[in-house]
Structure formats: C-alpha cells, structure tokens
C-alpha cells in the first residue's frame, strides 16, 4: 500500500520528465506544498480529507505552473542540466518559503485516529487503506484523462515525439504548462498522502525524494505506467527491507534499486529513452 502512495509523486516526476526532458528536483518542494495546502483546507477550513486532496492537487499544481513559468522556462534553451540545477535552487526557495510561514515543527491533519483492523495475525491501518484508495482513484482519473481527452492525447504525443507533435500543430508551451501543472499537482497529492500517514513538515518531500526517483527510474524514466509499477516495486522493497535492515536505511533501498536498474536495464521495467 505504501507503493501506491509512492507511485503518485513518481508519476508526477516522470510526467514532467516525459514532456520537458529534464529531472525536476522541485518535485520535493511541491510534495510539501501539496501537504500544506491540504492541511490548510483540512485543519483551517475544516473540510474533509477528499476536499483536502483536491486542495493539495490545485495548490501544488498552480504554484508549480507559476514557479516553472518564472524560474525555469527561460532556461529551457540552455540544456537539461542547467534547468535541473535551477530546479534545485527553486526547490530550496519553495521549501524555505513554507518553513518561513509554517515553521519546522511537524503538524498533523485534523483527522481522527482509527483503531487498526485485525484479521487474525494481520493488522491493517484504515488510514493506509484510505490512502491507497485515494492514490488509486487519482491514478485512475489520470489514465482516463490521458486516454480519453484530446489534451491528454496531445500530451502523450509530445512525450513520444516532440517534433512530430509540433508539426501536427500541438503547442509545446501549452503542453509544457499542462505537464508541469499535472505533474506537480500529483506530487502535491503524494505529499499529502505521506503526511496523512505520518505528519507534515517542510522537508517531507525531500526526505522521500530518493524513493520517488527510484520508483520513476525503476519503472523507466518518462513512462507513466512504469512509475506505477516502480512505485509498487520500491514500496514493497522498502517494506521488506525492514525485515533485514534498520528502518533508517529505507532511503538506501531506493538508491540500490536505482543502481541495479541502471546497471542491468537502464531503460527501466517499462522503459523510455535512457541514453
């Protein structure tokens, strides 16, 4: 179930990569933005969890499009590496903007704790079930959008072959904005889901960034179904690692998965272009 939660921000990261062809490190800050946007809707406005998820998507998506337009778009001509480095600078700014407003102390959503369900020897947390349901719903909506709407199809066309898409009259700038909004919005939902499971603070996204990257790389950078598979694989691997390693090494699992994937199957499980 942790895998389904991980898949959501991984899809966000991979979507931006598929259309814009650079690793956008600012996904970490947008996960935190989503978590805090959801917090504002839930704890300050008193609305239920589903409304908070919508708030997380919109908050992270809108800030994603705006910050990309101001900070990263002018640099796109200078190559993927320059934009990636700029996205780190942007990430630092956004995380610290949250820290400036909300402080470092962890916060919790105003959602009542529910006792774990027990089925014989198995214990299941209702919150985790709910998170998995939210994650699966978000992913289903995304696949419907990509498969059925003309904007979704256009986005896939740009990801597949930008030159051809341009010839067909698809506006690449418009698609870039769409991809960033969608990707960062999904990052925001992912951040909120992680926050529902634990607590939220400005570095929430950054702490899980290796797992998110790992999910995207294992599945194949730029492949949305790949990110789903990658998320499940990494989520499962991290849970299983707890049997053999201390919990603090969870992040190292993602790193190891990245190294193994790149050594043996650089295109990932459902791979796009790697070289």
């Amino acid at each position: 179930m942790a895998g389904a939660v991980l898949a959501v921000p991984a899809i966000g990261f991979t979507t931006v990569y598929a259309v814009l062809r650079f690793a956008n490190f600012a996904i970490a800050a947008h996960m935190a933005i989503g978590a805090f946007a959801g917090y504002v809707v839930n704890a300050w406005l008193g609305l239920p969890a589903w409304a908070a998820v919508v708030g997380a998507f919109l908050g992270a998506g809108i800030i994603g499009v705006a910050s990309d337009f101001i900070a990263l778009r002018p640099l796109r001509g200078q190559g993927a590496l320059t934009v990636a480095i700029a996205s780190i600078a942007l990430n630092l700014m956004l995380e610290n903007a949250i820290r400036f407003g909300f402080g470092n102390a962890p916060r919790n959503y105003a959602i009542p704790l529910v006792r774990d369900w027990t089925l014989g020897p198995i214990r299941i947390g209702p919150q985790q079930v709910e998170n998995a349901v939210i994650a699966v719903t978000a992913m289903t909506l995304l696949f419907l959008f990509l498969g059925l709407t003309s904007t979704g199809k256009a986005m896939r066309a740009v990801a597949d072959n930008p030159v051809l898409a341009d010839i067909k009259g698809i506006d690449p700038e418009r698609m870039a904005r769409f991809a960033v909004g969608l990707g960062m919005g999904l990052g925001g939902i992912g951040g909120m889901l992680i926050g529902l499971d634990t607590s939220i603070d400005p570095l929430l996204g950054f702490r899980s960034i290796l797992s998110v990257f790992a999910a995207a790389v294992v599945g194949g950078l730029g492949s949305i179904p790949g990110a789903v598979v990658g998320g499940l694989v990494i989520g499962l691997a991290e849970e299983l690692s707890l049997l053999a390693l201390p919990a603090t090494y969870k992040g190292a699992v993602g790193f190891l998965a990245i190294l193994l994937t790149l050594s043996f199957r650089p295109r990932g499980l459902l791979g796009g272009r790697a070289t």
Binding site: N91, F100, V217
Partner: protein, 303 residues
C-alpha cells in the same frame, strides 16, 4: 574579530577547494555532481577514522582520504557514464544521502550522530594560540597548489579533451577519444579534490558529525562555481569567497529585521541562497569571470 575573520577565511579556502573539485567535474567536463557533499564527507571521515582510531599521522590520513574519494568517484560513475546526465545527477544526490545515512547509523565506525571528536590538528601543541592563523596559511597553500594543478590540467591536452566531451561527447568519440575513460578520470580527480577538502575541514575543526553533510552545502558550492564562472578555476575560488561573505553577512540580518524568529531568519537565508543561484543562472549564466575560451577563427571572415 580577527579570529572570526581568520575562521571565515579558512572556511572560504576549504569551500574554494570544493569549488575547484566541482569545476573539474561539472565546469570542465559537464558532469553534474549533486553529491559533492558526499565526497567531502567521505574524505573527512576516512582521515578522521584513520588518525583517531588507528593513530595514523595526519599527512597519511589526508593522503588516504584523497585516494579513497578518488576511488569512490571512479566507482560510482563507472556504470552510469553511458547514460544521460540526468541519471548521474539523481545517482550522485542519492550517493550523498546514503553516505550521510551510513555515517548516522554505523556507530561502531563513525560514532553515529555523536560525531567524531578529538581529530588531531597538525602541530596544535607547538603552535598553541597561533594554530588558527597557521592553519589558514596551510589551507591557502593547499588551495594554491590545487589551483595550480587544475589550471595546468585545464590547459593540457587532457583538459582540452574534457572540454570537447562537455561540448559534444559524440564528436570527442569520433575524434578517437575514449570518452568513458576521460569521464571516469575527471570524476576521480574531482572526487579526490573534494575528499582533500573534507580532510582539511576535519583536521581544522577537530570534530565532524553527519549533520554537517547536508545537500545544502552542495548547493552553496554550485552557487559559488556558477557565480564565479563555470569552467573558470579562478572564478570558482572567487565564488567560494563571495558565498562565504554572503552567508556570513546574512547573519547580520537579525539586527536589521529583529521581529523575525530564528527559524524564519534561517529560512530567509536559505531562500536567498536559492534565489542567488537562480538569478545568476538567469541573468549571468557565465558568471563574474567567464571561462577563457580560445578565439575561433571564422572561416567566412578570412575570405
């Protein structure tokens, strides 16, 4: 005040060495290393563990740090160099995080979050209160030597190949250069310099702890190199001194805006670092001292 200035100059010199390390990998060869702080940490820990636990002399500890980080640089990149540079960025970032996690958890080796204290400082007993200025001179000498070496590297045929790889690896390969081998070497050299910087820091502060080695430090060095001029070694040194000055001057913000809480001030400082890097990239991407490139004769103009 003098001792404060000496401390800051020492930090700046160490950051400048780090800046030169990044310049070899990123500036000259075009390979991004988001895990620079990991190399810095490995250098510091190798030298600290060898001198504290095994009683090695400081010079040998530092040499071991250089060798270890060179090896780490070669190994971590070897399998990845055929791939797009984005992957290198992701992997190096992960590498630094894993180094910090290991330093926090392998208590038998690194003493975990308590850190390693009592790292020997060279000639501390003999110098007494003169240790700090003497160590600053030592750091400046090391910086000068490293600067001279990487400047020679830049001007050498080897450096020319690195630049060719940065501009277009395919053309370098067509010209008969083994791109992979050059990239591994550049990363090993850069890694070794970063490891040296780490050892320099450890034997100065005499105390290292995992929380020093956060990704923010890598961002500082990126800002230093970008502001100074990517590819220009003198620029990397200038940039390091500028960033230390900038970071230290923002400490005095508290006197200007006293109504902010310490957390808000800290976040404002980091925000300004990010903003600085972004503004340099947007407005002056070639930095204060742009890389000196050979003038190309334009075949059209000759006619």
């Amino acid at each position: 005040m003098t001792s404060y200035l000496i401390a800051m100059a020492t930090f700046a010199a160490i950051y400048a060495v780090l800046g030169l390390a990044l310049n070899v990998m990123w500036g000259m060869t075009g390979m991004v290393n988001l895990g620079l702080v990991g190399f810095y940490a490995v250098g510091a820990y190798v030298s600290a563990i060898l001198t504290v636990k095994l009683g090695w002399p400081i010079a040998l500890g530092m040499a071991a740090a250089i060798v270890a980080t060179a090896a780490v640089g070669a190994v971590t990149t070897f399998g990845l160099l055929r791939l797009r540079d984005d992957y290198l960025a992701i992997v190096t970032l992960g590498f630094a995080e894993v180094v910090r996690t290991v330093a926090e958890n392998e208590i038998w080796l690194t003493r975990g979050t308590d850190g390693i204290s009592g790292i020997p400082q060279p000639l501390k007993a003999a110098l007494g209160p003169d240790f700090n200025p003497a160590y600053l001179v030592f750091c400046l000498v090391v910086l000068g030597v490293v600067l001279a070496l990487v400047e020679r590297l830049r001007a050498s045929p080897f450096g020319r190949v690195l630049r060719a790889i940065r501009e277009d690896p395919q053309i370098a390969a067509v010209a008969g250069k083994n791109v992979l081998r050059f990239k591994v070497k550049a990363f090993a050299i850069g890694g070794a310099i970063a490891g040296l910087a780490g050892a320099l820091y450890g034997h100065y502060s005499s105390y290292i702890v995992p929380e020093i080695y956060v990704p923010l430090l890598t961002v500082y060095i990126f800002l230093a190199v970008t502001a100074g001029g990517v590819g220009n070694n003198w620029g990397a040194v200038l940039g390091a001194f500028i960033i230390v000055f900038f970071l230290e001057s923002t400490r005095f913000l508290i006197q200007v805006i006293p109504w902010l809480s310490p957390v808000q001030l800290a976040s404002l400082r980091e925000f300004l670092v990010g903003l600085g890097l972004l503004l340099v990239l947007l407005l002056r991407p070639r930095g204060l001292l742009p890389e000196p490139l050979p003038k190309l004769s334009d075949p059209a103009a000759r006619r």
